[in-house]
Amino acid sequence: MLAVIRPDSWNLPLFVHVLGAMILFGGTATVAIVGFAGRTRSEHAELLARVSLKTFLFLVVPGWIAMRIGAGWIADKEFPKDTPGWVDVGFIVSEPGALLLIALGILAWVSARRHGVGRAAVAVPVLAGIYVVALGIAWWAMSAKPG
């Protein structure tokens, strides 16, 4: 019962965090879907590589920023001193995960420059898929709050 009661001042940071995470999830899933489609539809590989790059720039990056700002904002309010383990899971996915996203962005750019063919085009959907799984682990930790 206590889990559903929270001060009103936590609502806006939580909204920013969750909306950002949802945009990040949808954007990363789009990069994965479009990237895997490009592997089997070689005649449209160039178009799909450009869609991947634009999705990364206009959805994944803003989604990550909103998710991370919201996360820091609400963590400061809810846990001003020590954060519990389930919050740390979220930070592990968001911060080291950002390195994976930077690699994803560089590879998406290389893939678009090479018309959707080559190793970068193969790596983009794989990395995006890995990040989608990591986001799933984070939302399990955020909602189930293990420990």
């Binding site: 969750v18 909306l19 949802m22 879907i33 479009v34 449209h44």
Partner: protein, 157 residues
């Protein structure tokens, strides 16, 4: 993990699939707006089916486990914010579904044009950029954002 944790996890999983699916659909829809060749429009509309599956699965999960949470936590099914959330969920799906049926007709036209040589068509362009379909697609997205806000603020709870 206790029962409440599991119910909340499954409810939130549904919410992520619902809104995430909407984001995927919007990204593919915007990409299709900028294309001329029917085969490209058909491909992008075809990929949207994955998003539609996520939206349907997410809506069902969020709805079923949301109602279960209401009784588990002790809220009332007649509470204003819960009734409002159910209305928004149904409205968002109805408007999005209507736009989806119009997009399906556009995809059929694109399929015919591909079979006829894949030349750009003014009729296909007009259908892809149809203002009613676009308003319904983006309107249903805004309803989902309002639904998320309602779930977080829970006015009157």
């Amino acid at each position: 993990m206790n029962k409440y944790d599991w119910l909340l996890f499954l409810h939130i999983t549904g919410a992520f699939l619902l809104v995430g699916g909407g984001v995927v659909a919007a990204a593919l829809n915007v990409a299709a707006l900028r294309r001329d060749r029917p085969s490209e429009i058909l491909l992008l509309f075809g990929l949207t089916r994955i998003a539609v599956a996520a939206i349907i699965a997410g809506s069902l999960l969020a709805f079923v486990f949301g109602l279960w949470l209401v009784s588990e936590v002790g809220y009332g099914y007649g509470d204003g914010w819960i009734v409002g959330a159910i209305v928004l969920l149904i409205l968002g799906n109805a408007i999005g579904g209507y736009a989806g049926s119009r997009d399906a007709r556009t995809a059929k036209l694109a399929e015919q044009l591909v079979a006829q040589g894949d030349a750009p068509s003014a009729e296909l362009q007009a259908r892809v950029r149809d203002p009613i379909t676009l308003a319904c697609n983006y309107g249903s997205g805004l309803i989902l954002v309002a639904l998320l806000a309602l779930m977080i603020w829970k006015p009157g709870a």
